[in-house]
């Protein structure tokens, strides 16, 4: 998931720094960058799955459970509340957590290269 020390051990011991490898776009440099790209993509897909597990399933759940519409809260059907209130905070929460992790992956990569 992250570009940490464990990952680095598996690379052949670099005689040149990762920064040089990247700047000269050598095979080693590409490996470093590919690791970052794959870690970022994994993180994005994980966030997408979290999003899909709630929002993607919701239309089907509301379709299969019409009884939810008969439950009322303050005179408004529960389905309407579900559509209006909790989803936006869910998007923000997923987005915020994702952005934090993605920045952390970038920072780990930066440490690796600058070392």
């Amino acid at each position: 998931m992250s570009v940490g020390d464990g990952d680095r051990d598996r690379l052949p011991a670099p005689l040149r720094s990762p920064r040089q490898e990247l700047a000269d776009s050598t095979a080693h440099g590409e490996v470093y960058l590919r690791r970052l790209r794959h870690a970022q993509l994994q993180l994005s897909l994980l966030a997408l799955v979290a999003f899909g597990a709630v929002f993607g399933v919701l239309p089907l759940a509301l379709y299969l459970l019409p009884a939810l519409g008969r439950l009322h809260l303050l005179g408004v059907p529960l389905t309407i509340w579900i559509m209006l209130v909790p989803l936006s905070p869910l998007f923000i929460a997923i987005g915020w957590l994702y952005a934090r992790r993605a920045d952390a992956l970038d920072a780990a990569f930066r440490d690796l290269v600058e070392k």
């Binding site: 776009s25 590409e30 960058l33 790209r37 239309p59 559509m83 998007f91």
Partner: protein
């Protein structure tokens, strides 16, 4: 009158701010370097300001009034689209540093030959998206002043075209951020005041219970603009131009225009053809077995909005005003917050409109509910004032979105289409500027003509098509181009062509057949994203894999994914300098 004054004030304020702002932004890099000191909150407000269009301001409430709670999926999809943008493209696209989608396509795929195709798709999406903005302007001016539909279309088309041509509204961050807060104010304050005035939602039986919408306690008098086919869901006895008309349940009649139609209290409202007559329980179901709320149609709409947002031509350039990829992510999270705030309110108008202005079901002008509700529900000074506020907000929505779109369209025409048609070498700055102006004026003509013809199609449906085409073309190109090294120019081109053809053909077929949403095939014709998006992905991958596997695209991947501050990438100032030496698309210089 007050409403007209408010519209005028917003229009002049917008034009004035744009003209004032542009004086400080002489060249492309001035504009962008200045923008780079902007905080993520300002940037997020600017992105949201350019994004919230007639569809968000009028369309969602109108569609909710007409079809029911299933319209709320649209606002959720419009917000979720920024989550997709955040997860997959925000930071890489910012780091790549392309201003426009054709720029990105050419640079990432190393293929100048792909530019014309990308430009054509930009024109297709932009045109489809401009259309509902102009339609909104037409019905808004009609609702506020009673002027014919075409006047609003023509007036806004001319104002926006001239303003873009003379250089105002060039995507100045602060102007767009200002527009966002105008729109939030204009949608939230009247909604809250009306809710407090009525002590919550009135007439809940018609909203959530067993009843159909009925005329209010004092009866309703309606005047149709022209003769119209109307359906009576229940037996009724109404007065048409002084003559009593008795009809049985389920009858269809053509009612004349220009005369008073009096519907007595507690009579079930007749509905215009094409508007379903639903009980409150049916209306308030977000997903049901048939029609516009069938699960298939809901999923197809969600795919289109979730994936289409990243492919809208006027959004990408806004991300360039972030200083780096990290800030692009932070900005996008804030956009999610701001859009969530805005989209809490349109639903209120749909629900209040169903209870308080059911005459819109008879006239079929459900898209005007945000504009007409305050005055109709609360006659007197307060209602008039609130109506003026929503009208001003609606005009802010038309102006900001259509200006952003027109800048993209005119840039594409003057930069890509015109020189290619004339096969000429690069020209001077003055020639390019003149050409951009001509393009801005001409690019408005076709959408304006189409808007005059599209009077009867809902704003939300029109916008849904723009999203469907964007999701079937640019979205797969971005996702694969950013994350998959083997995407080839040929594959991307074939996939975008297939996606655009399927989506456009389905939409046009559905339009020709008319009202097809009752069957599975009909639902997919109305909203084709569920088919066209996977098809575009499949073609892109298949064609790319069949080609030779030489493209590792390592330089492009470095530009897309390497974090800033490592000395590995060209600094933005160098990029800007390169761009100013060459030619910049977005500002038409």
């Amino acid at each position: 009158m007050i409403a007209l004054a408010a519209i005028g004030a917003v229009t002049l304020g917008t034009l004035g701010l744009g003209a004032w702002g542009v004086r400080f932004a002489r060249t492309t890099s001035d504009l962008l370097v200045a923008s780079r000191s902007v905080t993520p909150w300002w940037n997020a407000a600017a992105i949201s300001g350019e994004y919230l269009s007639a569809a968000s301001f009028l369309g969602i409430a109108g569609l909710e009034l007409k079809l029911g709670a299933s319209a709320l999926w649209q606002s959720l999809g419009f917000t979720a689209g920024y989550l997709a943008l955040l997860l997959f493209v925000a930071a890489p696209l910012r780091r790549f540093g392309s201003y426009t989608i054709p720029d990105f396509v050419e640079a990432r795929l190393r293929s100048p030959a792909m530019r014309p195709l990308a430009s054509a798709i930009v024109l297709l999406i932009g045109g489809f998206y401009l259309l509902p903005q102009l339609k909104g302007a037409g019905i808004a001016l009609q609702a506020v002043t009673g002027a014919p539909y075409w006047t609003g279309v023509v007036i806004v088309a001319v104002i926006v075209a001239v303003n873009v041509a003379i250089g105002g509204m060039r995507g100045i961050t602060y102007v767009q951020a200002f527009q966002f807060w105008i729109k939030v104010f204009a949608i939230s304050v009247p909604a809250c005041v009306l809710l407090i005035h009525f002590g919550g939602l009135p007439d809940r039986v018609a909203l959530f219970g067993r009843r159909l919408p009925t005329a209010a306690a004092r009866g309703v008098v309606v005047r149709l603009p022209g003769a119209e086919r109307v359906q009576f869901p229940a037996a009724a006895r109404i007065t048409v131009g002084g003559r009593v008309l008795s009809v049985s349940a389920g009858a269809r009649r053509t009612l004349p225009g220009g005369v008073d139609i009096r519907i007595p209290a507690a009579t079930v409202m007749p509905v215009a053809e094409g508007t379903p007559a639903q009980t409150g329980a049916q209306w308030s179901r977000p997903v049901s077995g048939s029609g516009a709320s069938s699960p298939l149609l809901v999923y197809s709409l969600l795919v289109a909005t979730f994936l289409g947002t990243m492919g809208l031509p006027h959004i990408l350039v806004r991300f360039y005003t972030n200083p780096d990829g990290h800030a692009a992510r932070r900005t996008t999270v804030r956009v999610l917050t701001l859009l969530g705030l805005f989209y809490a309110f349109p639903a209120v108008y749909g629900a209040l409109g169903r209870a308080l202005t059911p005459q819109l079901y008879l006239t079929g002008q459900t898209d005007t509910v945000v504009l007409t509700l305050p005055r109709a529900a609360w006659p007197g000074t307060v209602g008039t004032l609130l109506g003026a506020v929503t009208a001003a907000g609606a005009f802010a929505a038309f102006l900001s979105t259509s200006s952003g779109l027109l800048v993209s369209l005119a840039g594409t025409i003057s930069h890509d289409v015109w020189p290619r048609l004339r096969r000429e070498p690069p020209t001077s700055v003055a020639v390019r500027r003149r050409r951009f102006r001509a393009a801005a004026l001409t690019a408005m003509i076709i959408p304006a003509l189409l808007a005059l013809l599209a009077g009867s199609i809902d704003i939300s449906i029109l916008v849904g098509w723009a999203f469907a085409i964007a999701a079937s073309t640019f979205c797969p190109m971005f996702l694969l181009g950013v994350w998959w090294t083997r995407l080839s120019a040929r594959g991307a081109g074939a996939g975008m062509i297939v996606g655009a053809l399927i989506a456009t053909a389905a939409i046009l077929t559905g339009l020709a057949l008319g009202d097809p949403e009752t069957t599975v095939a009909g639902a997919l014709l109305a909203q084709p994203a569920l088919v066209s998006v996977p098809a575009a992905f499949a073609v892109m991958i298949a064609v790319s894999l069949r080609g030779s596997a030489t493209t590792a695209a390592s330089a492009e991947m470095l530009a897309l994914h390497a974090p800033e501050g490592l000395g590995l990438r060209l600094a933005d100032d160098d990029l800007d300098a390169a761009r100013d030496r060459g030619d910049s698309v977005i500002t038409g210089r």
